[in-house]
Symmetry: C2
């Protein structure tokens, strides 16, 4: 886990990690949310809608923004204030996603950073992109 302070973060700083989406993750996310939509569970239903398999929950894909902020950029000293995301392409079970964030702005008065991110699959297709506002503790805190 990174522990960057607000002062240590620089504009242009980039962090990335990869994760393979498993059936277990899909099942656990369904259990948490109670979202029983068949597009995410029923292969035949998904196929009838043009998909090669059940579609990974879009909000599950965006869940890895928690990891991006809380483990990588900035890591421990963080709290997510705002997120936005565009889900561009479907994600399927077994896809390997690379989540990459780059610091695009810093607001010194409130110790908030803006991180622009992309989520890309194993074929190099951008499945999601957007940005987050993340509060970061300074050296004097925490």
């Amino acid at each position: 886990m990174n522990r960057y302070t607000y002062e240590e973060i620089t504009i242009g700083q980039t962090e990335r990690f990869s994760v393979t989406v498993t059936q277990q993750m899909q099942d656990d996310f369904r259990k948490i949310t109670g979202d029983l939509n068949p597009l995410h569970a029923d292969a035949a239903y998904a196929a009838s809608h043009g998909h090669k398999g059940p579609v990974v929950f879009g909000m599950l894909t965006l869940s890895f923004l928690s990891t991006l902020a809380g483990m990588y950029l900035p890591g421990e000293r963080s709290l997510i204030h705002e997120t936005e995301g565009k889900l561009r392409r479907p994600v399927y079970i077994g896809d390997e996603l690379t989540i990459e964030g780059t610091v695009s702005d810093k607001s010194d008065a409130v110790h908030v950073i803006t991180v622009k991110y992309t989520i890309t699959n194993q074929d190099g297709v951008k499945v999601a992109r957007g940005q987050m506002q993340i509060g970061v503790e300074g050296e004097g805190n925490g």
Copy 2:
């Protein structure tokens, strides 16, 4: 599960549901994301940052947008295209959240609805708000 078609959705239409955030949800979300940040796990660490207990992952709170779209508004015939959310107040284990969405716009050319949402805790405090763009199948599909 609702099954509203695009044609059936009306501007101003509102759906809501409530859910209590459990320790199991928090643990399952941590397992999915690998976000080991102590703010979400360590009561002493959270207390040292002014919290009455471990803070529920912000992206876990926003996970219920999956439920809002996939089960309620519009339900089965949906796919989330975009989300944005502002996390305004901390959520704690045991909080009962009410997720409420209202249709604010319809784009007939692309069959996309805009849903503005609020997430409110048991004390009536808005912990999050934002909006989503959701694709909805018409009567001729699915």
